[in-house]
Point group: C2
C-alpha cells in the first residue's frame, strides 16, 4: 500500500468540544481548519488554549481560523461540535467546506441528531455520529477547560458507503484519526445503540444539573438525587431495550461509578442554561421518549423530568 496523505480536517462550531478535538488533532500534525463565529477575532489574534487537567496547558497559535466557510479549503473530515439545536443552519457551511465524498462527523449527544442535517446534505457525503466521553467546557473566547476523560466513539449514520465493510472502514478511519492524536476511540457497529448508551448518562445528569442547579459531586453525595439518578438510568436502559438496543450488562452501574470518580463536573446543559441558550431537549429527551413510546414503553420519570425542563427552558431563553 502506498502512503496515504494526512486528511484535511475542518472544525465546524469551535466551542469546547470542537476546539478541544481540533487542537489535539492539529498538535498531532493534522492540517486543521477552524470555522468560528463570535470568537473569530479572539482566536485569530491569540490562538486556542486548552487548560487540561490531563495533558497540562496546551496552546495552538497561530490557528487556521475562518469567519466564513467560503474561505476554508475543501476538507476530508468535518467535525461538528455545535449544539444540536443549530444543525439545520450549519448545512450550507458543511457543504461549502467539504471535498466530494467527505466524512461529516457530528460530535453531539442525543437521538437522531443526524436526521435533520442528512436531509440537507448531498448524497455524496458520508454522515457519522460521535459520542464524546469527556468533561470539557468553554471558559472564554478561545479558552477551554478540560477536566477529565476524552474518548470519542464513532458510528456510521448514512451516505454513499455501499456495504458494511465500507462503512466500517470509514468508521475505523475516523477512529484512527483520533487515536493518532492520543485520544481513545472505538468503532461502534450500531450508532443508535451507541447514542442510547450515551443517553444513560446524559438524561439524568444534564437534566438534574439544570433542575437542581447542581454539579455531579453534590448530585452524587445526596441519597435522594442518587436514587433518582439510578431510577432515571434504569428507565433509559428499559427504553433502549424496547427500541431493540440491549445495553451491556451493568452498563448503568458502570457510568454511575465512573461519575463518582470524576472530578466535580457541570454538564453542558447547565452551561446552556446559564448562558440562556436553548436546551437540547429535543435530542436528549423528546426523541428518546417518543421512540420508547412508539415501542410501547412508558418512561414516566424521564417524562416528568422533561416536563420540568420544558417549563424552565421556556422561561429562560
Amino acid at each position: 500500500m502506498g502512503t496515504i496523505s494526512k486528511p484535511v480536517v475542518g472544525i465546524i462550531g469551535t466551542g469546547a468540544i470542537g476546539g478541544f478535538y481540533g487542537l489535539m488533532l492539529a498538535r498531532a500534525g493534522f492540517d486543521v481548519h477552524f470555522l468560528l463565529r463570535s470568537e473569530f477575532s479572539a482566536v485569530a489574534e491569540r490562538g486556542l488554549h486548552v487548560n487540561s487537567a490531563v495533558h497540562g496547558p496546551l496552546t495552538l497559535n497561530p490557528v487556521q481560523a475562518y469567519a466564513s466557510a467560503e474561505d476554508m479549503p475543501p476538507c476530508d473530515w468535518l467535525l461538528v461540535g455545535a449544539k444540536t439545536t443549530s444543525n439545520v443552519g450549519l448545512a450550507p457551511s458543511i457543504i461549502q467546506a467539504s471535498k466530494p465524498g467527505a466524512k461529516v462527523l457530528l460530535l453531539q449527544n442525543g437521538l437522531d441528531v443526524e436526521d435533520s442535517l442528512r436531509e440537507r446534505l448531498p448524497d455524496s457525503l458520508h454522515l457519522l455520529g460521535g459520542l464524546c466521553l469527556i468533561c470539557v467546557h468553554r471558559e472564554g473566547p478561545g479558552q477551554i477547560a478540560h477536566q477529565a476523560l476524552g474518548a470519542v466513539n464513532v458510528g456510521y449514520h448514512s451516505g454513499p458507503a455501499i456495504d458494511d465493510a465500507e462503512r466500517m472502514a470509514i468508521v475505523e478511519e475516523g477512529c484512527t484519526l483520533f487515536r493518532a492524536a492520543g485520544i481513545d476511540s472505538q468503532a461502534m457497529p450500531n450508532l443508535q445503540q451507541a447514542r442510547w448508551q450515551k443517553l444513560v448518562w446524559n438524561i439524568p445528569y444534564n437534566g438534574l444539573s439544570v433542575l437542581l442547579g447542581a454539579s455531579t459531586t453534590p448530585l452524587m453525595a445526596d441519597a435522594d438525587s442518587r436514587a433518582l439518578i439510578q431510577a432515571l438510568m434504569t428507565e433509559v436502559v428499559h427504553g433502549a431495550k424496547a427500541c431493540g438496543h440491549d445495553m451491556p450488562p451493568g452498563y448503568a452501574e458502570y457510568l454511575f461509578m465512573m461519575t463518582e470518580k470524576m472530578p466535580d463536573y457541570w454538564p453542558s446543559m447547565h452551561h446552556d442554561f446559564l448562558h440562556k441558550r436553548a436546551l437540547e431537549l429535543e435530542a436528549i429527551y423528546v426523541r428518546p421518549l417518543s421512540a420508547a413510546k412508539a415501542a410501547g414503553c412508558e418512561l414516566p420519570r424521564i417524562e416528568a423530568l422533561y416536563r420540568t425542563l420544558g417549563f424552565i427552558d421556556r422561561r429562560n431563553v
Copy 2:
C-alpha cells in the same frame, strides 16, 4: 334541649391558617385564645389583621394572646395550624390547654399527620383532622393575606367516641363552629379519603412551586407544567384507589379547573422554602408513596418529584 354555651376555642400555632380561622371565629363571637411564639409581642400589642380579598380588611384587637399554654384557659376545641413537622413538639401545649374530653383539630395537609401526635395525647382527647381549601399566607407579624376560598372539611381520627354516631356528632359540632363564622364546612365520613383528596392538589402544586420557583398562574399557563400536573394528579388518584379510597369521578379535573380560576397563588411549601423552614415532605410525599407502595402501587412521577424536593430541602434548611 337546653341552651348550649359557646365553646372555648384555643389556636395552637397562629400562622396564616390558625390566625385566619381564629380571627373569623372570634369575630363571630366565640371565645378564642391564641398561643403564639415569635409573634406574641406584635399580636399582643397591635392585634391580628387579615387582608382578605373575600371579606375585606379584618381586624381583631385586642387579641387574647398567650406566650405560654400554661396561661391559657381550658379549651373545648383546639385548632392546630402549625406545620406538620412540629406536631410532636406541640403535644405538651395541647394537653395543657385542653379541657377533659376536648376536641383537637389538626388543620394540616398530608397523610397520617395525626399519628405522631396521637401517641402523645391522653386517650380522653378527641383527635380530628381538617382539610382547608384556602389561599392564605402570612405577610408579617400578625399580618395575614387571604386571597381566595376558605372551606374546612372535617373528619374524626381517634379518641373516646364510642361509635360512629358519636364520632359524626363531634365532627358536625366542628363543622357548625366554622359555619357559624361564615366558613363552608363539610363533615368527611372518612378522614383518610379526605386526606387523599386534598393530596390530589397538594402533591403537584406544592412540590412544583418549590422545584420550578413558580406560582399557580405560570404553572397553569405552560403546556409542559400543565401536562405534568395532570400526570401527577392521575398518579395520586391511582395511589388513593390502591389504598381503598376511590376519588369522586372527575375530582382531579375539578381541582385542575378550580386552580385555573383561582387568583395567582404561591402554595405554602414555597413559603416554607423561602423562609428556609423544613418542607413537609414526610406528610405530603413520603407517607402517600409508602402507603401506595405497600398496596402494590408505584407512583414514579411523584417519587421523582419527591427525590428532587428531598435534595432541595437538604440544601436549604
